[in-house]
Subunit: 428 residues, 2 copies
Amino acid sequence: METLIHNVTIYGEEAPFYGYMTIKDDTIQSIGKGDVSREMMKGALKIDGKGKWLIPGLINTHGHIGSSFLRGAGDDLPLQTWLQTVMWPNEAKFDRETVLAAAELSMIEMIRSGTTTFLDFYHLAMPDVAELILDRGVKGVLGRGMIGLCSKEEQDQKLQDSLSLYDTYHGADNGRVSVVLAPHAPYTCPPDFLKRIADAANNRGILLHTHCAESYKEVEDSYKEFGMHPIKQLESIGFFEQPALLAHVVHASEEELEILSKNDVRVSHNLISNLKLGSGIAPLPAMLEKGITVGLGTDSTASNNTLDLFEELRMTALVHKGVAMDPTKITANQAFKLATSEGAKAVGLSDTGVIKEGYKADFVLIDPNKPHLFPNERMHSHLVYAVKSTDVTDVFIHGKQVMKDQQLTTIDQEKVLADCRNQLSKLM
Amino acid sequence: METLIHNVTIYGEEAPFYGYMTIKDDTIQSIGKGDVSREMMKGALKIDGKGKWLIPGLINTHGHIGSSFLRGAGDDLPLQTWLQTVMWPNEAKFDRETVLAAAELSMIEMIRSGTTTFLDFYHLAMPDVAELILDRGVKGVLGRGMIGLCSKEEQDQKLQDSLSLYDTYHGADNGRVSVVLAPHAPYTCPPDFLKRIADAANNRGILLHTHCAESYKEVEDSYKEFGMHPIKQLESIGFFEQPALLAHVVHASEEELEILSKNDVRVSHNLISNLKLGSGIAPLPAMLEKGITVGLGTDSTASNNTLDLFEELRMTALVHKGVAMDPTKITANQAFKLATSEGAKAVGLSDTGVIKEGYKADFVLIDPNKPHLFPNERMHSHLVYAVKSTDVTDVFIHGKQVMKDQQLTTIDQEKVLADCRNQLSKLM
């Protein structure tokens, strides 16, 4: 079936343009400037964009959607207190039902804020999350989180679970689900376990994803234990001999960034989470200068406390200017690319994040007729510095409309909120 | 007339509580916990809060609402290029009509994002802005901006205009408009002009407000010209012998902060604007440790690019944690106070910014029944880390409802947007 979306202003790499787009099944078929011809209006399912902005959907390159109930459960705490009194005791109580309810709540939040692809890194119920993604029409990159502080048998079981997730779901529904291998971190996975995971990834061409260099303490501890920076340690065990995506990389010098650049390792920049936990501010301008592929990630609502990538986008463009005392650092267009096309590359998808023929029809409509977006000609600026995620009105993923005029079409929001309340009452 | 707002969860200093509030004319008359009695329901005009959150309205302690058309006109530029190619040539074209249209647009944006008091620092049409404020039911603190790089006659005229604004409007409608004296900055006002302004403020007990120590270059230039930091220079000419509010104070050492603390000088912290212009990050935690009164300000949409204090609030709580690498810096409750009660003190108002008997009825209702606010019991956290300004549904200023279920009651939004478009077409 062909769909024609007309009367829209489309995000273009250099400048926005007024025009239209056709999609066939899950793919962008054509893009044109100006009004559509009478000929084109025949046959196709027509959607009048009513002068809205049409932009690529945002890509969330790191998160943990199963823990969304912990939003606001503990803020402003030192890291160890937060882990010991908030995260661990609560997460220990989570079961399949909790995780699925929280995951669906997170999907609602992400659709509503214009995210069309998200990476989810979690240790519970991942096959169920994959099924939920397929059913609800959203798009996910899944990694079964593996902590290696356990017996070799348990380690092997976790790796086996991960490979089984890969075998069952990688590439499902024409790429709407993909799967990565996700060891938790160099400080929670012994080197031989990391090596076995890396070998498995290498054998099957699977993307590796792990947390790395998030806190200063982690780096210090790595020097104590291994005599080197965690990035250097990962390199030393061959972790970068296949594609890898590192979340955070807050503490890294030129030397470590050079290792990432040389090995084409990607980074998920989680600015808000890093700020909130007091981890620090990652050297994003230096990463980009070295040509490293960087996407943006929200991390979980336990340390953000939203899944709103427009917030992440704006903060990324603003904070690095202030830190560098240079207003030319991270321009609006650079930031927008990190949240879209670069994010897609970071999570291993080569056909989303851009409005382009042949790419997946993952896109979002935004209503620019708002006081806070006046004058609304300045789309490229406003998308970063002024838009609110609540300006998103319509969301399409693989050509399917999952939100229409701010109404979800595949998820019953009231039912999910009621489920969440039930699940939460079990925990508290 | 008495109004009863019931079925609300009210922001409390320590914790939120379920209850009700009565207001009489422009003032909060009583606050109670729990349900209202049948007796109380008699007589009064009743508003069912439907379980919403009732919080003090936010206080914007620094801005320039007349320049809102410049939102997104030039981003990511070095400061001098931005001033010379964007700000000055555009502002030179502004007239009374442009400023009033932009001011009303700004009022809409501020009401919609839960701001009940704003400070406006501008050089054009300030009596008209005062009239607009009085007519539209909003609340403003006005300063006629004075640049002193002109003849003594022109300086005197500017000061005369300012004092006339004060005489006519200060305290109007029971304090809904107040007036400050607003020399632009130490680097644009010669010391003798600053001294005359300070003397005039002293004679009549008027609050002084100026930009200070915004950029590193400004501080360097002050050392070159006066042999001292701008804060020290202001002190040396007696500027702090009456109440004063300084916007920015990005570059200040312990010594200068000590001067501010000793003289009870207030600071307007404009984090987003300071980040966006690459000015740097003000030492907010050190200011608070010294007991300095600090409020939050958006500055103008030309350097922000919104007037959304909830954004400012969240960024303030987040960024300073990251800079200090300490998640306990600027807690949610601290940040919220900066945006409310402390902001009120900063702009010289002693009876707003708190939900308390005898205070002005300046408050906001927020709909917490949103996926991004689940679990919605955690109000104090969510108000800072998760709420979006678009969750604001109702706004009351001096007891009058200026927004009801997201509909403005005193401003015709469509007409204002049409006016703005007309005015903009004159400029471009």
